[in-house]
Each structure stands twice: as structure tokens, then as C-alpha cells.
């Protein structure tokens, strides 16, 4: 049996760019998740998504794993980047583009 923590560690360490979100990239179920997807698409990033609505264990576990109370959450190369507000700030300053370019 694998704990939520182990499953999350595996997801963030085996994928360069992972977005934990509500819904899917095509059908986001929340405005904040939708914004996060829009930013990544705008940057033409290659990313995986994890729909927390389909997985209550991950939904709760990711909050503890990141010490962050809300979804979406972006991970790049195993490092927690932040939620949609931080993504937007980093998008506007060009930092997110740099971070993702380095991950590609």
C-alpha cells in the first residue's frame, strides 16, 4: 500500500512539470485552475495534470505535502512553485518562462 505522500512524491519527481488542479486541462472545474492552465498553455509548456477531484487522497495529501491550503499547485522538477497567484506574478515578470525553459 502506498501512502498519498509517496504517490505525490512520485508524481512530482517523475514529471518535469506537474499541475495539481481541479478538473482537466481541457475542462478545468475552478477559475483558479483554469487560470493556471491558461498560463502554462500561453507559455507552450509541456506539462502533466493531476485532477484532485478524482482522488480525495491526493486532494488532501497535496495540501500537507506542500504546506499550501489551496489547489492549483505547480511543481517544476520536484520543486513547489506556488499557486495561480504566484504563477501569474512569475508569468508577468518572465520568471516562469525561464523556469520552464530550463525544465524543457
Amino acid at each position: 500500500m502506498t501512502s498519498a505522500n509517496d504517490r505525490i512524491a512520485e508524481l512530482v519527481n517523475n514529471n518535469d512539470v506537474v499541475l495539481f488542479m481541479k478538473g482537466t486541462a481541457l475542462f478545468p472545474q475552478c477559475g483558479f485552475s483554469s487560470r493556471a492552465v491558461a498560463i502554462l498553455d500561453r507559455l507552450e509548456a509541456k506539462y502533466e495534470t493531476v485532477d484532485v477531484l478524482q482522488d480525495p487522497e491526493i486532494r488532501q495529501g497535496i495540501k500537507e505535502y506542500s504546506e499550501w491550503p489551496t489547489v492549483p499547485q505547480l511543481y517544476v522538477r520536484g520543486e513547489f512553485v506556488g499557486g495561480s497567484d504566484i504563477m501569474m506574478e512569475m508569468f508577468e515578470s518572465g520568471e516562469l518562462q525561464e523556469l520552464l525553459a530550463a525544465a524543457a
Partner: protein, 82 residues
């Protein structure tokens, strides 16, 4: 249960006494807010740590009682010439 903007501001200031807090009620429903928090205590902290400090001040309400808090944090700039 919606939360009043004044209560959000009070909680943030209780934990971060020098904080300058600006709150906007985004949807007018007392449940979707945007907050900007400036504090000298954020100096040297990553954005993640700054946001975590505000979430901690709100004691677990964000993501629960408070559905969504759009958050912007900053260290006050000495020359406020904007």
C-alpha cells in the same frame, strides 16, 4: 459561512503587526477576496514563504471557510513613487 473583509484584515494584522492590508471583495459575496499584504517581515522570504505566512495568519481558513483568497504579497519599498 462567508467571512467579513474586516475579519480577514484583523487576523492578518494580529499575526503580522506591521502589515499593510488591502482587501477587495471580488464577487460581492463575502467569499471570494483578493488581498494585498505588505510587510517588512517578508524581506528575504520567498514568495511561497510570504504566502504561507499569510495563510498561517488566517489559521487554516483559506481553502475551507474562506473559499478563495487571491493573494499578493510584497515588501514595502522605501521610495513609494508609484
Amino acid at each position: 459561512m462567508p467571512m467579513a473583509a474586516s475579519e480577514i484584515e484583523r487576523l492578518i494584522k494580529a499575526a503580522i503587526p506591521d502589515a499593510a492590508v488591502t482587501i477587495r471583495d471580488l464577487a460581492g459575496d463575502g467569499d471570494h477576496y483578493a488581498a494585498r499584504v505588505e510587510s517588512r517581515s517578508f524581506a528575504g522570504m520567498s514568495r511561497i514563504k510570504q504566502h504561507q505566512a499569510v495563510y498561517a495568519a488566517l489559521g487554516g481558513r483559506v481553502g475551507g471557510e474562506l473559499h478563495a483568497l487571491q493573494l499578493e504579497t510584497a515588501v514595502p519599498q522605501p521610495e513609494t513613487s508609484q
